[in-house]
Amino acid sequence: MTDSMEDVMTQVEEKESAGRRPDHVAAVAELGEHLQKALGKLSPDLREAVILRDLEGLDYSEIRQVLEVPEGTVKSRINRGRIELARVLNEMGVRPN
């Protein structure tokens, strides 16, 4: 079964405009505020590891050079930081999807 061209184009337009919808933009902004508050509750070591990995997009070797710690420590801090951050957000009643 193949969809008609109109149906396909409608799906594409909906998919492209989903990230620019006002409610989505507002939800992302609200999540950013919650995320900043939650990051402030982490320890500095875990916070900087998570920020460098998930917000700045650095890979493990770059984070190792920035933090000047072994790569195993970097991975451990990122993993613990993510889990701790998820727990803090859960306590705040925020469930990122």
């Binding site: 992302v28 999540l31 950013g32 995320l35 900043q36 998930d54 917000l55 700045e56 997009g57 991975k75 990122i78 993993n79 993510r82 889990i83 951050l85 998820a86 957000l89 859960n90 469930r95 990122p96 999807n97």
Partner: protein, 222 residues
């Protein structure tokens, strides 16, 4: 062998980033799919990573540098009294400002010299645009004449030098065999290599230069 909740927590990021081996991934899924607490944890961390990746980079606040300096070096004492009024003078007391001012002064001096402005005895007529234009025109022509004379003199000197040392540009290299050396006092030499003839040529050229009757086709001369 099954994994427990502590192993799930320890390898959670590896699982979400696909860094586990197939066997480890199977053990991970086997536990996390049956343990409600771990299932919830995996879902929340997966959603958190996706949400953070979807966030746009946050711009640094305007007072970030000041806040860092205050947090590390301590708050700086704020100026008060006359220091607050004359605080802007610190900007012009820096070396780069002095360099810039010196450069501007030198540029103004060069331009005014080219325009013929006499700063020691300034007159209103010096600032007349017509006088400025005439002075600049005169200076430009003088500079052009000096340059032309220098280039002409340089060409004359080069011509004299090339005529006095023709053997350096000849295609036949000088013979250094002992047989070519002057063995008899009566043997004649080439005229241009003789010091006497060379001095005569120099005198001839200088005489022509002094008389101003320099002939352009120098290469035809002996």
């Amino acid at each position: 062998m099954n994994w427990n909740c502590e192993q799930i927590e320890a390898r959670l990021s590896d699982y979400l980033e696909g860094a586990l081996t197939p066997e480890e991934a199977a053990l991970f899924v086997n536990h996390s799919s049956t343990c409600g607490q771990c299932k919830e944890l995996v879902a929340s961390v997966r959603g958190l990573i996706g949400a953070m990746h979807a966030l746009e980079p946050v711009a640094a606040p305007a007072n970030l540098v000041t806040a860092i300096l205050n947090g590390t070096l301590g708050p700086r004492p704020s100026a008060s009294g006359w220091r607050a009024w004359f605080g802007w003078t610190r900007v012009i007391m820096q070396p780069r400002f002095a360099y810039g001012a010196l450069t501007v002064l030198i540029t103004l001096g060069v331009v005014s010299e080219a325009l013929g402005i006499q700063w020691r005895t300034p007159t209103v007529a010096d600032l007349n645009p017509v006088n400025l234009y005439r002075s600049f025109d005169r200076q430009a022509h003088l500079a052009y004449a000096k340059g032309s004379k220098f280039v002409g003199d340089l060409r004359v000197v080069y011509e004299i030098k090339s005529r006095l040392e023709p053997s350096d540009q000849d295609s036949t290299p000088p013979q250094k065999t002992p047989a070519a050396a002057p063995s008899s006092p009566g043997q004649s030499q080439t005229p241009l290599s003789s010091p006497l003839n060379r001095a005569e040529s120099v005198e001839n050229y200088l005489t022509r230069l002094a008389c101003g009757v320099w002939i352009a086709p120098v290469r035809s001369m002996p």
